[in-house]
């Protein structure tokens, strides 16, 4: 797993803690000011949702070393739940999002409990198969409206007070959701719990021999990762006012894998960078239609063959090599 070992890479990117704070501050300022810089807010919100999704996914791939090919089911199912509870039950958006994230976490717990029964490469196949089951469920279940999906989800008002129909309001709402999600990921990685996860990645048998219940840690991490993916999907459904089959399809799972791989798995900033590149590509390549799939596939192949550490990982290596 040497190539997955990226523990020190974020440190190399951020350099000293002070530089880290400066960089974080600069990025935060940019994100907050972005709507005034003439950047299309819908695009930014999409990017933030997917960046959060990729960060949540990276918690599993980058820090536990388990490749899940089923994260679309958490993302998409949360989008459906949020859409349904907000549109049909009339919940406020924040409650709808919480409901979506909780259902995703519960689903993640169930998946995790099954999938960790087999090691290594089987994990990917099991999660993919379970996610396909969720996909077929979504095709058939009445509340998801099959091919049509849930459309016209009202954005509503945050806490019943702030109208999220206003572009600026919803933008800062999404920024806040992302910040909360990212903070949870960051704190998890840098907690004793996160240290155990990394130890599992590096040498599972040794962690077992130290007396840790490895399976409990894996399930906990998977549940958390699923819940945060759900948070991203739920928020996305409020932003775009729709939850469709695209969100639960395995291609979405592939996309989040690509974002994480491209940005750098096991790095804190990697998934965000990866999400930025992939979402921008999709945006600019929208005109070439189905070539997008080919290009995504090509990026996969190039990443795996030439820069397995991803953009951020390779950058960190260069900076450290100075």
């Amino acid at each position: 797993m040497t190539t997955l070992n990226a523990r020190t890479e974020t440190r190399a990117i951020l350099g000293s803690p002070q530089a880290g704070y400066v960089l974080t501050g600069a990025v935060a300022l940019f994100v907050l000011a972005a709507p005034f810089l003439g950047i299309y807010p819908i695009f930014l919100m999409k990017l933030l949702c997917f960046a959060l999704f990729a960060c949540a996914f990276n918690l599993m791939l980058g820090y536990v070393g388990l490749l899940s090919f089923g994260h679309a089911s958490f993302f998409g199912m949360a989008a459906y739940i949020t859409g349904h509870t907000v549109k049909v039950w009339g919940l406020t958006p924040e409650l709808g999002i919480i409901a979506g994230a909780l259902v995703a976490a519960a689903l993640g717990f169930a998946f995790g409990a099954l999938a960790i029964r087999r090691q290594g490469i089987y994990f990917a196949m099991i999660t993919l198969a379970l996610a396909q089951m969720v996909y077929f469920f979504s095709v058939q279940a009445p509340f998801t409206h099959g091919e049509d999906g849930i459309q016209g989800i009202p954005r509503g008002a945050f806490l019943g007070l702030v109208d999220l129909g206003e572009t600026l309001n919803i933008y800062y709402f999404v920024v806040a959701v992302f910040a909360i999600g990212f903070f949870i990921v960051y704190r998890t990685i840098h907690s004793p719990f996160g240290q155990v996860l990394k130890a599992i990645r590096e040498n599972e048998n040794r962690v077992i021999s130290l007396g840790y219940r490895v399976n409990h840690f894996k399930i906990a991490a998977f549940t958390l990762s699923a819940g945060l993916s759900g948070l991203a999907g739920a928020t996305k459904s409020i932003v775009f006012q729709a939850a469709t089959l695209t969100d639960v399809h395995w291609t979405m799972s592939g996309e989040v894998v690509l974002m994480t791989l491209l940005g750098g798995m096991g790095t804190i900033l990697g998934p965000i960078v990866g999400a930025g590149v992939v979402i921008s590509l999709q945006n600019y390549l929208a005109t070439v239609g189905s070539w997008v799939t080919v290009i995504m596939g090509a990026i996969f192949v190039i990443c795996v063959l030439t820069f397995r550490r991803g953009v951020v990982g390779e950058l960190a290596r260069i900076l450290r090599g100075r």
């Binding site: 198969a129 791989l261 080919v294």
Partner: protein, 296 residues
């Protein structure tokens, strides 16, 4: 009309036959995955895309070169196998020393490229492929009507599956393969060219997928997306059966096909998900799979 378990017998047997046909494809594909995983330690995500390529090669041969079904049954697997050998030599072989993940990710990317290219060229609607004249029509077996071609698919794939089993378990070449799976270094020390063996194993397994594609062409239309959903079901089957044994893959593939057929008869709503449910149950009760050996 006779009824069995509350269902007209022809319906039941018809679905069973359909299940057996699907099961034949599952068996051929999971067999290939088992051979590749055994030798190369790679889960070949591109297997579905290569199955589709096999069907398309047969279609090309017919429409551009006027080469019919029977030669295509040999030629298309050869083409797909050769393509697989190129992929293995140029890309996959660089990843053997790395984590399994990268093999999966690379082949996933390859699957996207292959399927995307075919989709750009031919759209998502299927291209028809005629049933060869010798296999048109059908037999009335009394309890059901058996279309000849469908019967042929089941028989042909079972023959090929057992041929593969024989090759791996009963020949000298197979003995080398199995030895290389157990201990590569030792086999190399005996002067056997293991990298060549790995290339051949990949080419062979991929050719099996191409063969399945040609068999499928007259039944399903030749469609760029035909391998996409199939590969996920095959993954579930591989998890159910375990990648340990060749015979296990064949039996599990056929068995799951039949179970799917039965589900279609008695509870059609669950027919798409039943495979995954079985997988979940097997994981809960027998985590290493029906035929797998418990291994860390």
């Amino acid at each position: 009309m006779t009824e069995l378990l509350g269902v007209p017998a022809p319906v039941l047997f018809g679905q069973l036959l359909l299940g057996l046909i699907n099961g034949s494809f599952y068996a051929l594909l999971s067999l290939g995955l088992a051979v590749i995983f055994g030798m190369l330690n790679v889960i070949n995500f591109a297997h579905g895309a290569l199955y589709m390529t096999g069907a398309f090669v047969a279609w090309f041969l017919l429409n551009y070169l006027g080469i019919g079904y029977w030669p295509a049954l040999i030629l298309a697997p050869l083409v797909v196998g050769a393509f697989g050998i190129v992929l293995e030599k140029t890309m996959l072989s660089r990843l053997y020393k790395l984590d399994h993940l990268y093999g999966l990710l690379l082949t996933f990317g390859l699957a996207l490229i292959i399927e995307g290219l075919f989709r750009n060229a031919y759209g998502v609607s299927g291209q028809p492929y005629p049933i060869p004249s010798a296999l048109q029509g059908g037999q009335n077996l009394g309890f059901m009507f058996l279309p000849t071609y469908r019967g042929w698919v089941v028989v042909a794939s079972i023959i090929v599956c057992f041929g593969t089993w024989f090759l791996v378990e009963r020949t000298r070449f197979g003995a080398y393969l199995r030895a290389a799976v157990e201990n590569q270094e030792l086999v190399r020390a005996f002067g056997i060219n293991v990298p060549l063996l790995m290339t051949l194993a990949y080419g062979f397994a991929v050719a099996l997928a191409g063969f399945a594609g040609v068999l499928a062409a007259p039944i399903y239309q030749v469609n760029p997306l035909m391998g996409q959903d199939l590969i996920i079901v095959v993954f579930a089957i591989v998890v159910i059966g375990g990648l340990g044994s060749i015979l296990g893959s064949i039996v599990t593939g056929l068995g799951i096909g039949v179970v799917e057929g039965l589900t279609k008869t008695f509870y059609p709503e669950a027919s798409a998900t039943v495979v995954f449910l079985i997988m979940a149950i097997v994981l809960a009760l027998r985590p290493h799979g029906l035929f797998g050996r418990p291994r860390a």
